[in-house]
Each structure stands twice: as structure tokens, then as C-alpha cells.
Symmetry: C2
Subunit: 343 residues, 2 copies
């Protein structure tokens, strides 16, 4: 019942799948809605009606344009769910519902779409959230098989979360939950024309459980953010600006695996600027550093967690790295990115 | 401070604008955030914290891929705001906040982006809603200057709204708030290779005020939906399926301007299948038809409103058009669409 490709590669997306007519109805009914089925989505109305939410509500959105669509450790569907639930998590919010908008290029194999929708369903289940509503459009064929996905998420802010960069003071420490740079390098390893030998997998994961564990620990967690585009370097540069404080990072304390270090060195990349999708940076009062670190390390996504640095008084709010050989270097916000379309 | 185009056409989007680094920060700070500024957006955190919402909450999303980006009567920015607030409106919800995700192609003129962001700001203001959060990505250059926009919206459902297709019964009437098919034809008139003489403007408009007026009228409004992709024909075919009722439409009662009729005839199009972006169909109990129609016509966006048909018992739930010459024809859901990328 679905169009066959002209080239014998099996069924593909055609422009009429995006027209709002009979073929759109079938695409939704046969490929998109069943894997995602839940009580909020199933009425298929123009908007989903959500359960009542007490307290403060968070809204966030992310557009995902990663190429290729599938890479070691995940795909654009995994990313689209994790990226948005993580943006809620770092606000101290428990995710309630996501929206899912897909812009699919003509020619995409329906098999690929099916795998990506299955990843969306699996990641949403892992994150404890449902796809409540969506939209699907089709655009003209490009050179590559492609699609972009935009998710938005609604979450309920924990009553006890009090997260704001303005609460950070000198002496507060920075905790990172694990190894850097694995997402960006895994995507690069799958990019045409860049293939190199690596066993690296993307770290893409939903961080809600880890963040809940940090907040449950009783530590005074003052601020959370996930180092995605721009990497840890971009996050720290922003944070120095927002707090008007200096930041000192201890290079030896930053968790990076030897495989990642070797791969980054080979490619001439700075691990601090490479994108992550399963990492979170927490600013915590120094007195609570041990409690927060213990809670982090007790969670499966935080076993390699570490205190990587601290905030200091500074005339000019710069990020400085204490290098392993006893030197100091300024960590700057990257100008662009090492490789585009990494998320 | 922004890159100049190589071809002398002025500043353009480059890949590094999407990298999450310094150039991304400048793009946001100089071109995107200032026109949209509001208390929810200004903290620039990963998620926006919304004001408390009492009662039921609605979530919706739409992806917009219209080509060209600017057309008579609106642009992709106008569409992105109106489409999403209208999806909330037809659920009986008052919009509270929108998210805005833009995927911009390398090479887009910054002047074009500025005009589109200004349209977003103006349309949001008209609709009484704010852009609370967003994301911006850049993808490789295509043949055309292009971008896609995905908006998601959160709204609060009116306590007195009781809208569900299941409430519709035989005898209930259908009201349409004005002239059909103007959006689709206006976009076609601006499409390269299709240009033809017309003064038609897109009907794109935020429908919240009109829907509030309908609900305030006291009429028993049982169901609302906006005939966008797939046009009125697609909407009615869906509604016949959902209610298991027949629908009879009176061709002479359907508001279509002579200019629209002539243009559609010239292009060989059925006005019932062409997309609209400022129209709403209301199913109302027959006793309340006069009250609802009066409320509709008293609103600036409903002056040409009309009762266009009714629900009837039927063995097979079909949509039938009573033609102006006394015949009947079946109205089917379009297979694809007359022209892709209309919204």
C-alpha cells in the first residue's frame, strides 16, 4: 500500500506523504502512531490535553539536524527525545509530555523511518515521558537521505529545585557526570568521508534519573546544564559570563577515556569543544560536593563523575584550565563548531 | 560583525552560525532575541519557566516548510505562529506560550531572517502569546534560500469548552468563518514557475479571538477544527469518519470569492482541497446556529461566515456536496495535495 522506490531499494517517502490527504493518513496510521501509542496521543486531535500540573511548568524545544541519521550508540530519534528531556532535567523539571515534529525528505527509506520512530518510542519509555502530539511534513529530495526532528517538552519543576546561575558564588564546585566528547566523535566516525577506526559510542541518554538523584541527595545544587553544542568549553564560557566569576578547571580531573583522547588528538580536536548528549554539569556548594558526587556515582549514568573545577573571584570572568603539566590556558567559547550537524 | 556574502548580496547565514559557539551567540543576540524579547524568553535558560496554569493544559506542535518563505499576505513566520495558536484555539484553549525552533539553510540572507523574525513577533503580539523558548540550527545550502520553522504551543483549556467529535449528532450544523482557499492560492502565486496574475492574499490569521467569541455566545459549540493541509475536503472526510455520520454540504453556501473561484478554475484546482490558515469549521447544534453565526459575523475574521452544511444519519459516512445545479457529488479526502510545501 506504500509506494515502492524506483530503484528497487524498497518503499520510500514520496511528496504526497506530506500532503495532508489519504497518503498522509496512511503514513501516520501505519508507520508513526502505532509505535508511539499512548492515551494522550491516541485521540489524534490538533492538540493533546495533558493531565493537570501542579506547580511551575517548564517548556523547551530543540531542533535536530544530525548527519548521518544513524550513528554508533544512537540515532536522530534517540537524540530528539534525550535532548529535550535533558533540557527539562537541567531546569529541575520532571518531563510530562513531548511534541514531535518531523520534516522528512522525499526518498527517505520507510525502513529507516521505522527504526527512528522505534528509537523515539524506546527513548521516551526510558525517560518516562510520552509523545503527546506531533506533526509530519515532507520536503523535496536532497543528495542525502535525511530528516530533521524538532521536539518540544513540557515538565513540572520540582518544588525543591532552586537552580539559577545567579546563586553561584566563589568556592562553589563543578561536577561532571562522566566521560566527555563521545557523542561528537561517534557521529564523526559515521560521517561519509571521515570514517576512522573507533569503538566509540555516543553517550546519548536521558538524564532525568541522574538529576533526580542529585537533587534527592540533599546537596545544595545551584545550577545544572548539559554540555551539548559548543561542548564543555561553550558551557563554561557562558557560565563565567552569567556569574561574572572566574572558573578554574583541573585538566587531570576531567573524565576522558584514552580512546576518546586518542581519537580527538588524531582529528586535531579539543575534547572540551566536542558535543555531548548524556552529560550534565552541576554547580554545587563546596560543603556538599562529597554528597553530590556520591549521588552522581551511585547512578548508572554517573559512575565516572568527578569534581572538575571551581568558581573563583576574578576581575575578568575567564575560564582557565590547570593543565596536567602545571600550566594554565584560557578556555574560550568555540567560534563555530568542529563539525557541523552533530545534533 | 556578521559574515558578508561572497556574491555581494549582503550578510548571509553561514554554517558556523549553527555551531553553538561565538557566532551562534551573536546571531541570537543581534537578530533573533531582541525582536522577540519578553520576560519568559529573556533568561535564555534551557527551558522557560511558565506562569502557573489552572485547569487543563493543551500541547500542540506544527512544522512549517512553506516555499517561498514570503508570499502575498504573510510569510513562514506569520504561519508558524498562527498555525500553532490556531491548533490551540480549536481545542478551546487560550494560548500561553510558544516555543520556536528554526532550521536555517546556509546562504539565507540575514535581511530575510530579520523580516521573518519581525513577523513572528508581530503575529505573537496579535495572538496575545509570547515566544518563551527556542532553538536555532543551520544546515547546508540548497538550491533555494530556505528555512523551516517548528513551533509548539501550550494553552489553557477554557472551563466551559466541551469540544469532541463524539458529541456531534445528526442535525448539527457546520459553520465556516469565511472565504476558502486564499492561503494556498496566494502561496502558489508566489511560487517560481507558477506565477500568475492575482490580487489574492493569504488568509493567515490567529483565530483565538474568533473562537473565544463563538464560545462566549453561549451556543453549544461541539467541535472546532481548522481546514489547513487537505483543505475543507480533508477536514470533512476526517469528521465523517470520526462521527460515523454523513455530511451534506451546500455548494452555494460555501464562501468563495469570485477571484478565488476564477484562479482555482484557471489552475484546475478544487477550492475544497486548497489549504487555509485563517479558517475554522464549527459544529454547532441546530438550535444554536443563529447565535453562533451572529457571533462569528460580529468578529472581523468572521464577517463572511456561513452555515455550510449539516450532519445526517447515513449507512456509509460520506461527505456529499449539493451542487448549485441541483446535483450531488461525493467529496473525498485528497490523495496528496495540489501543490506541496504550502504550509
Amino acid at each position: 500500500m506504500t509506494p515502492q522506490g524506483d530503484d528497487g531499494r524498497g518503499a520510500q517517502i514520496v511528496m504526497a506523504h506530506g500532503g495532508g490527504g489519504e497518503l498522509t493518513r496512511r503514513l501516520l496510521a501505519e508507520h508513526i502512531v502505532p509505535p508511539l501509542a499512548n492515551d494522550l496521543l491516541d485521540p489524534m486531535t490538533d492538540s493533546a490535553v495533558l493531565p493537570p500540573i501542579a506547580g511551575r511548568l517548564c517548556l523547551t524545544t530543540d531542533a535536530f539536524v544530525v548527519q548521518p541519521l544513524e550513528f554508533p550508540g544512537g540515532d536522530i530519534g534517540t537524540l530528539a527525545v534525550c535532548g529535550t528531556v535533558n533540557d527539562l532535567a537541567v531546569m529541575g523539571a520532571v518531563p510530562i509530555a513531548l511534541s514531535l515534529a518531523m520534516v522528512i525528505e522525499e526518498g527517505l527509506a520507510l525502513d529507516t523511518l521505522d527504526r527512528i520512530v522505534a528509537s523515539i518510542a524506546r527513548s521516551a519509555s526510558e525517560a518516562g515521558v510520552v509523545i503527546a502530539t506531533g506533526d509530519t511534513k515532507v520536503v523535496e529530495r536532497r543528495d542525502t537521505e535525511g530528516m530533521t526532528i524538532t521536539t518540544a517538552g513540557v515538565g513540572q519543576v520540582r518544588q525543591d529545585a532552586n537552580l539559577a546561575a545567579g546563586r553561584i558564588g566563589p568556592g562553589d564546585v563543578l561536577i561532571l557526570n562522566g566521560h566527555l566528547a563521545e557523542h561528537g566523535l561517534a557521529v564523526m566516525s559515521a560521517r561519509k568521508g571521515l570514517s576512522f577506526q573507533t569503538d566509540l559510542l555516543s553517550d546519548v541518554a536521558p538524564l532525568g534519573g541522574l538529576v533526580q538523584a542529585l537533587l534527592d541527595s540533599g546537596a545544595d545544587v545551584k545550577f545544572l546544564r548539559d554540555p551539548t553544542r559548543g561542548g564543555l568549553a561553550g558551557l563554561l564560557a557562558d557560565l563565567a559570563d552569567e556569574t561574572s566569576l572566574g572558573i578554574e578547571i583541573d585538566e587531570q580531573a576531567v573524565p576522558v577515556t584514552p580512546a576518546t583522547r586518542n581519537t580527538a588528538d588524531m582529528l586535531g580536536l579539543d575534547v572540551l569543544t566536542v558535543a555531548n548528549e548524556g552529560k550534565v554539569v552541576a554547580a554545587v556548594s563546596a560543603d556538599d560536593a562529597d554528597a553530590a558526587l556520591a549521588a552522581c556515582r551511585a547512578h548508572p549514568l554517573g559512575r565516572a563523575g568527578a569534581v572538575i573545577g571551581r568558581f573563583v573571584h576574578a576581575e575578568v570572568p575567564l575560564v582557565e584550565m590547570m593543565t596536567s603539566v602545571g600550566g594554565r590556558r584560557i578556555v574560550s567559547r568555540p567560534y563555530g563548531e568542529d563539525l557541523p550537524r552533530i545534533c
